[in-house]
Amino acid sequence: MKRSQRLRWQVAAIATVAALGVAACSSSSSSTTTSTTSSTAPLTASAPGITPTTITIGSHQPLTGPAAPGYSEIAPASNAYFQYVNANGGIYGRKIIYKYLNDAYDPTTTASVVRQLVLQDNVYAIFNGLGTPTHLAVVSFLNSEKVPDVFVASGCDCWDNPTTYPETFGFQLDYIREGKILGQYVAQNFKGKKIAYFYQDDEFGMDGVKGLNYEIPASQVVAQESYVTTNVNIAPQVAALRASGAQVVVAFSIPAFTALLKLYSLKLGFNPQLVVSDVGEDPITLSGLLEAFAKQSGATVNGNALINGIISDGYLPALSTSDPWYNLFVKIHNQYDAKEPLDGNFFYGMAAAYTFVEAMFKAGRNPTRADLVSAINGGLPQGPFVAPLAYSPTDHDGATGAYIGIIQNGVLVQKGPVEITDTTATGAVTPYTGSEQTPSANGIPSS
């Protein structure tokens, strides 16, 4: 009797502690905007998620959990752009309702929330679902349900598979192309130096490494260390990088792990030239994380000073008031999303929303789900990107090129021209001769 009482207490105590630990497995949020405007021709409920007055789309986003820092700003930024479009006539008069649910970057939760969006909420399309491991959990489901799966927020080359996944479209520069562009720069500018890789142990990191290996001579690569997002203790990896004597470390890591790499290196007195993939280097997110992590362990650091000199790349224009897209998006941001920081994540979310609106206008007045897919297959204008988008019936990649940049005083400053390339081992990395586009006067792509 005593024993079983004691047991109850123990179990109850453990379970109570558990309630605190469950923070990683949270749930969700969404946001909605509705209103109506009149139109000249009849608008019909032409597809699931489309009514005469609204278009409902869904997404899975990491609003809590390891990938939330930085990335949780993307969906609110997209939503701000949609609200702006809604307030300025909508898409053929329809308002966009953007419902994004939290998956905490956990694939099982992704599987559940995406089914909720598709099976219960009847969304027209899944837009900008974030993350490689998470989105892989739902890509076959979405294709078997014939739900457009557009502009996946991940540079995995796996989204470019029109035969198996005709509904799925990539968006940002894929990691193989990015690896090649960064790799070419490293090979040309750090001749004879010892180079090491630090990468996330999944398609994201491995695609990046594949691209790097196409350009960097194998003889120069002295170490390859990987990490998993579920383990924040990367001290062993950083120690191995240091022991290899690497002078340049190329990182395909998410922002939290780029920050950890920097901090552990600092602790060990290891100070290589860092070259970081675009997804892991947003300067504002990164310096904020560095200061927050250092504070947790009782130290004070200057985030901006620490990230100075990091080499990266950009497939969207550098954040600068001389860029018309930046000015447009800042204007919308200040009106609808003023609480979030003006960083690369905000710009990314806006750019994704802009591209979606572009595709919806192209899909026609009363689009079916197939109409959206064929509209994108027909190709989309470059929009806010620095290089053309690859979309065609046989290519579902998005951005095809980027420029090299160096972080100076908290911003990525462009160095050198925009380079474009393909995903093959032999395809050259060549300068792009075309120019950037400018947004229309009201900032909404026209039909």
Partner: protein
């Protein structure tokens, strides 16, 4: 006393309710029924382990991973039918449970919790060590098709709900039988007083190991169901959070009670979705709304512990007894209540509590 046919009848009624609900509700609710089915299977195994045999396991999420990966590998590489893969997955997990159980039989209380916690942390990491076999962080994607005779328009999630619920019900009926059998009585005897049980001729160590094997097998079956329901087995699906959520659900539902396992699974599957919908409808910002389900989860746990220390099932029984008056011991040990509450536990424990600490099992 309830007999096997009577339990079977209860199971058939529950199955009929599931079929009815799955047809009435939308496809996403069907998916949630399937989720509840695999959760209840895992929680039932745990509640039997903790409530009946008195051992704590924080590692059942790891056993789910064993079952899930075994199923996925058999489906992917050998193209086995799911039902065959399920049986083998259960057997593999039982073997894993036996290995851990041998070690666990020597450990008590927090030490056992610590050892199983290690299992929960370490085992899913194996997937990263051999990415070629286990797919690393991405895990293994599988497909589970609806049989052709149901026609092309039959909702796949309804079929999933049926399969998962059928398997869960079979597991529950078997567990109910087991807990009322000689083996279940041995578990309770060992839980209440190991010395007295040993004096009665019960092999204490074997009894504890068997309980661990049964619990692990249930987790393995749950993992196999999770694999076909989510069509993915990945390390992210079997984190320490999952293991702890299973314990939490068993406690919320009512430790040792199979009906409690059902309440617990309903809470962990439905509360987050419900709270999210409420937060959404009140137009909360994403940074606030995203964290509300976590807060609600904690609030439910604290509330249940304060109001119903014996879990939801214990609370329901107490409410019921307000109407029916005090009940005798016979009613306390009904089928769905496999562990009597502490105050009616048949006990031979006359010794001061401190003496237990010195007694071993081997």
């Amino acid at each position: 006393m309830r007999t096997f046919p009577r339990r079977l009848a209860v199971a058939v009624i529950v199955a009929a309710i599931v079929v009815f609900l799955s047809i009435k509700l939308n496809s996403f609710r069907d998916y949630q029924i399937a989720e509840i089915a695999f959760e209840v299977t895992a929680i039932a195994g745990l509640t039997v382990l903790t409530g009946l045999s008195g051992q704590i396991s924080l590692g059942n999420g790891a056993f789910m991973a064993v079952g899930g990966y075994a199923t996925a590998l058999l489906l992917l590489h050998l193209a086995w039918p799911f039902y065959a893969a399920l049986v083998v997955a259960a057997a593999v997990t039982a073997a894993a449970g036996a290995v851990v159980g041998v070690a666990a039989a020597r450990l008590r209380g927090p030490y056992l919790a610590g050892a199983t916690l290690m299992l929960a942390v370490a085992l899913p990491a194996i997937a990263y060590a051999w990415p070629a076999t286990f797919g690393g962080d991405q895990g293994l994607s599988i497909t589970f098709t609806t049989p052709a005779f149901l026609g092309v328009n039959f909702p796949p999630t309804r079929w999933l709900a049926w399969v998962a619920s059928l398997v869960a019900l079979i597991v529950l009926v078997l567990l109910a039988n087991l807990s009322q059998s000689r083996i279940g009585r041995n578990w309770r005897a060992v839980r209440d007083d190991e010395v007295a049980a040993a004096l009665d001729g019960i092999n204490v160590a074997a009894s504890r190991i068997l309980a661990f094997v049964v619990s692990a097998t249930c987790a393995g079956v749950a993992g196999a169901l999770l694999a076909i329901v989510t069509t993915l087995v990945a390390p992210g699906a079997f984190t320490i959070t999952v293991s702890i959520a299973l314990v939490t659900a068993a406690v919320i539902g009512g430790l040792g009670s199979l009906a409690g396992a059902l309440w617990g699974s309903l809470v962990i599957v439905l509360v987050p979705t419900y709270v999210t919908d409420v937060a959404t409808n009140h137009g909360l910002s994403s940074s606030v709304g995203a964290n509300i389900p976590i807060a609600a989860y904690g609030a439910v746990l604290i509330l249940v512990m304060l109001v119903f220390p014996e879990g939801i099932q214990g609370g329901l029984r107490r409410l019921l007894s307000l109407f029916t008056g005090p009940t005798g011991p016979d009613q306390k040990s009904r089928t769905w209540r496999v562990a009597p509450p502490a105050h009616v536990t048949p006990s031979t424990d006359e010794a001061p509590a401190g003496q237990h600490e010195k007694e071993g099992t081997s």
